[in-house]
């Protein structure tokens, strides 16, 4: 009979416990990127093809043109608690529909004014212009947006009301 093996020495290390995590460190911003089909969406696709890494916080919404993004779309997302929105359109002068990106710029500027007046903060909305070949710019813009929103913290509109809320519209007009 083989003598029984001596007991295995127990390593003298502290027991493994999960340190308490502050709620703030658990929070990750939710960001929407409205991407124009002809530039930013292709740039995001290219970034993926090139295996470029960018934060997972961003959810891309494919738009036919930034000029198609209505002010209501952006306001609705903020009302529902989104932390930040990036509007990514073509370079000025390069819009497939001539001036959709210029109109989008005016609209985002107006919404930024509204957000500032309401108290949500205008830094949570940003518009960038880029071309389909500018994957690094797209990645950088997303990263900057995430950094900005992380510094700002969660949207003050988040979680204070159920997400299902939407505009109740009755029109007789």
């Amino acid at each position: 009979m083989t003598p029984s093996a001596p007991p295995v020495a127990v390593p003298m290390t502290a027991p493994v416990t999960t340190p308490p995590v502050a709620p703030s460190t658990l929070w990750e911003p939710e960001i929407i990127a409205f991407c124009c089909n002809y530039c930013a969406y292709a740039a995001a696709d290219l970034a993926g093809s090139k295996r470029m890494q960018y934060p997972v916080n961003v959810r891309i919404i494919h738009a036919p043109c930034t000029g198609k993004i209505e002010m209501e779309h952006i306001l609705d997302a903020f009302l529902k608690g989104i932390d930040g929105i990036l509007v990514a359109g073509c370079l000025e002068g390069g819009c497939h529909f001539l001036e959709g990106n210029l109109r989008a710029r005016k609209r985002t500027d107006r919404i930024r004014e509204m957000l500032a007046e309401i108290g949500v903060g205008d830094e949570r909305l940003k518009m960038v212009n880029l071309s389909a070949a500018m994957a690094p710019t797209f990645v950088e813009s997303v990263q900057q947006m995430v950094d900005t929103v992380k510094a700002l913290g969660p949207s003050p509109l988040k979680e204070s009301e159920p997400r299902e809320e939407s505009q109740h519209l009755e029109s007789e007009g």
Binding site: E72, L79, G119, V120, L169, E170, S171, G173
Partner: protein
């Protein structure tokens, strides 16, 4: 059309402070065309107010409805059901619309969501200019269709002042001189001789100065 501008979000928020159920009413006529109080603008204002009230932790039940014309009782009756459920109504019509709604619902506070500006015309996309003062005694025929009562800062009826710069008003360099426009227009329609006539002082009696006016057209009265 009647041209109006939206009130600021802060002002709107203050207007309905203390009310928990509010109805925003848009108007489908003038203020829709001047992009101030149509269905869409009411929607945008609603988003802004919902956010502002939520941030202030003041719950708000907000509903919206846009009717064809706020200045006619025939259309306002469509609001009765929605108005019955709320504490207050905000009219996104002109001042006429807001008052007509208030008369229709005597037990409801009715607030104006817009600042009514003037009767004007669309010059280009999103630019309106005042063209008529509603003086009650139209003199357009004398001036080739250009109204100096409205468009001349000094309301001069017998030629320009000495202050106009080139073709523009000295009061506002972006504003064309009404008398330059009158001259050009009369020349174009070969009626420059009209300028030889001295226009007597304007009769302001039909104007607003004695208070709100009333028009009755007997031939169209019923009963």
């Amino acid at each position: 059309m009647i041209v109006a501008s939206p009130k600021s979000i802060t002002e709107l928020k203050n207007l309905i402070a203390g009310h928990k159920k509010v109805l925003f009413v848009g108007c489908g006529t003038c203020v829709t065309v001047c992009l101030a109080g149509g269905e869409r603008e009411v929607g945008l204002a609603s988003y802004a107010i919902r956010m502002a009230r939520r941030l202030a932790d003041e719950p708000l039940e907000l509903s919206q409805q846009t009717i064809e014309r706020q200045c006619e009782n025939e259309f306002i009756k469509d609001l009765a059901e929605a108005a019955a459920k709320v504490d207050a109504v905000v009219s996104f019509g002109c001042g006429v619309g807001g008052q007509t709604i208030a008369e229709r619902f005597p037990d409801k506070p009715v607030y104006a969501g817009l600042n009514t500006q003037f009767m004007g015309t669309l010059e280009e996309q999103a630019v309106w200019t005042e063209k008529c003062l509603g003086c009650g005694d139209c003199m357009l025929a004398l001036f080739g269709g250009v109204c100096p009562v409205t468009r001349c800062a000094k309301r001069l009826l017998n030629g320009p002042c000495g202050g106009s710069t080139e073709t523009h008003c000295e009061v506002d360099e972006d504003r064309p001189c009404a008398w330059q426009l009158i001259y050009t227009r009369l020349k174009g329609i070969e009626q420059l001789d009209r300028l030889d006539e001295v226009v007597p002082p304007k009769d302001w009696a039909p104007s607003w100065h004695a208070g709100a006016r009333k028009v009755v057209r007997k031939e169209h009265r019923v009963g």
